[in-house]
Amino acid sequence: MTTAAENAQVAKSPSNGGGELKNWLLDRAPFLVACVMLCALVAVYGVLRDGVFSLAELNIDTAAALTLLLAATGQTIVLLRGGIDLSIGGVISLGTVLAATQMGDNPWSATFWVLLVLAAGALVGFVNGVLITVLKLQPFLVTLATWSILSGAALIVLPTDGGALPTAWMAFGNATWLGLSSSVWLLAGLICFWLWFRRSRLGVAIRATGSNERSAFLSGVSPLWINVATYGLSGLFAALAALYLTTQTGAGSPTIGKDYILPSVTAAVIGGLSLFGGRGGLIGTTIGAFILTIIGNLVFVLRVSSYWQPIVSGVILLIAVLASSTAEKSARNSLT
């Protein structure tokens, strides 16, 4: 439990000389492994296919990765706090069907429903946070239940895939500015948000709670506030993911959300996040999301069965998590 905090301490204090670099590396080993894997995958992809290192390819891959990344942003925040959020699947399903059935072609109603979907996502997270704190329930079960409830609601709103989005809304998904697509600008915005959030009062409190719940609460962090804020943000980002997804698919789907629940955890863990809380960040998660996207591209370019994609991502996930646990173990050994 204390290793994360102690590592940070050791990495910062210059007192142990030669061990300093080693500790710095060990502390970031899972993240560095993810970077190496992404570079290797991109290199292989670049060899197999022409024009990989171009803006067009960047635009396409970012658009492909962004829905997962938005869902994984919320998941990253929850995992940093030491929880898990399965309800994002329900929020995404419900968000896409609401957008596809209700927006219409009137810009005012479209704006209204965008805001409503975002508010609904945040509200779901708020309810999760309250239930987890007040009733002292396990996040896994609470969010499993809310996921089921929201998926049911999505099926009632729209029983099968369909619906339509305003043309202007779809055009936003394909718009480019200065050669970069809207997805790349959104990614840049997301990274900027994270750089601010990481150092914000709430961001520090979330990581502190994830590292050691008890000492965080003793230092004056309110458990209710932390849970409501983390799950609320997770719901909000899931709603954003749903809205972005509709710009890509142009339709609503009441079952699509479940395809993002476990991959959002996978992206974060591949990016070096520890499921024990307190360690990791959105930069790693971004790399994880791109690794998963590039694997899909590679399977396509190699012309092997698309069924290889889950196998490869499963193996990469295991490599990432083994690197992370090995690094944590040796960090612990170097302390004692």
Partner: protein, 334 residues
Amino acid sequence: MNLLRNRAIVLAYVGMAVLLALTSIASPGFLAVSHLRSLVVLAAFIGIVALGQTFVIIAGGIDLSVPWVLNCAAVLMTVAAKGQDQPLFWIVPLLLIAGALTGAVNGIGVAMFGVPPIIMTLAMNVILQGGILVYTGGAPPATSPPAIQYLAVGRFAGIPVILILWLVLTALATLLLSKTAFGRYVYAVGTSATVSEFSGVPVRQTIVLVYTLSGFTAALAGMLLTGYTGQAYLGMGDPYLFTSIAAVAIGGASILGGSGHYIGTIAGAFVLTILTGLLPALNLSNGALLIVYGLVILVTVSLSSEAVPTIAAWSGEYFRTAKSLSMRSDHDPN
């Protein structure tokens, strides 16, 4: 058997009885013998998958690899048997061992390499999914042999054969949990792995064994399920991820480990099955079923939460404090 554990399991059975009563009012004929038989068969599949899941959850883990272990066993069995009974003599034991070994790999990853259970079993699930899809090329495999169909839907002296099988498994699981050293180790590891380690409990072996058991029951359920559906198909295991965990949770086990019992899980499996049967009778859609599932999980888990007595005490205290404050403010405005 402490009080809390009993309370949660009793609640699960009360819920099941209430549901049965409501259902028989809503749709007369629900309690007919023929209908109860089909109810038991459907509950048995959830119950068998949830057996291993119960052990894993009591030991403080979770097994997300259940869907595709089940699916792989189902597909490989039908493909290898080609609708014949004779090859089953070696296929069934072989696939049960393969399922158990898959579970053992999960357990080794969790116990020896410190991989979080969610990640280890999730990775195993997607690898198996990809593997079996590559193997079959996505095409639907062959039909189920007659012997398996007899086990799944046949009757022996009017009793469904699968019910007999399920009762035997229940007896074994109960013996294992309540009467053996292994059972006590499972509860000990789920309560605190560190304390268990220092108390001389073979923590790693216990963890490997519970995942092995879960792989075994998932493979068994997969083969039996082909007898019910007539053939194996891709994706047949997917609903069992949710239902196996939900049955354990409704049955009163804490997802943190250390509490619960397979007896409770059985009530959980029946609650889920009755709900599935209730909603078509009330003309409700699949969406409504998912909403009801979610609410039932929330309610059962909340009722057995340790916070309920605390909240009752808090609210009592709150009203007392509010009362005394208002009384004080009558005397002293400051």
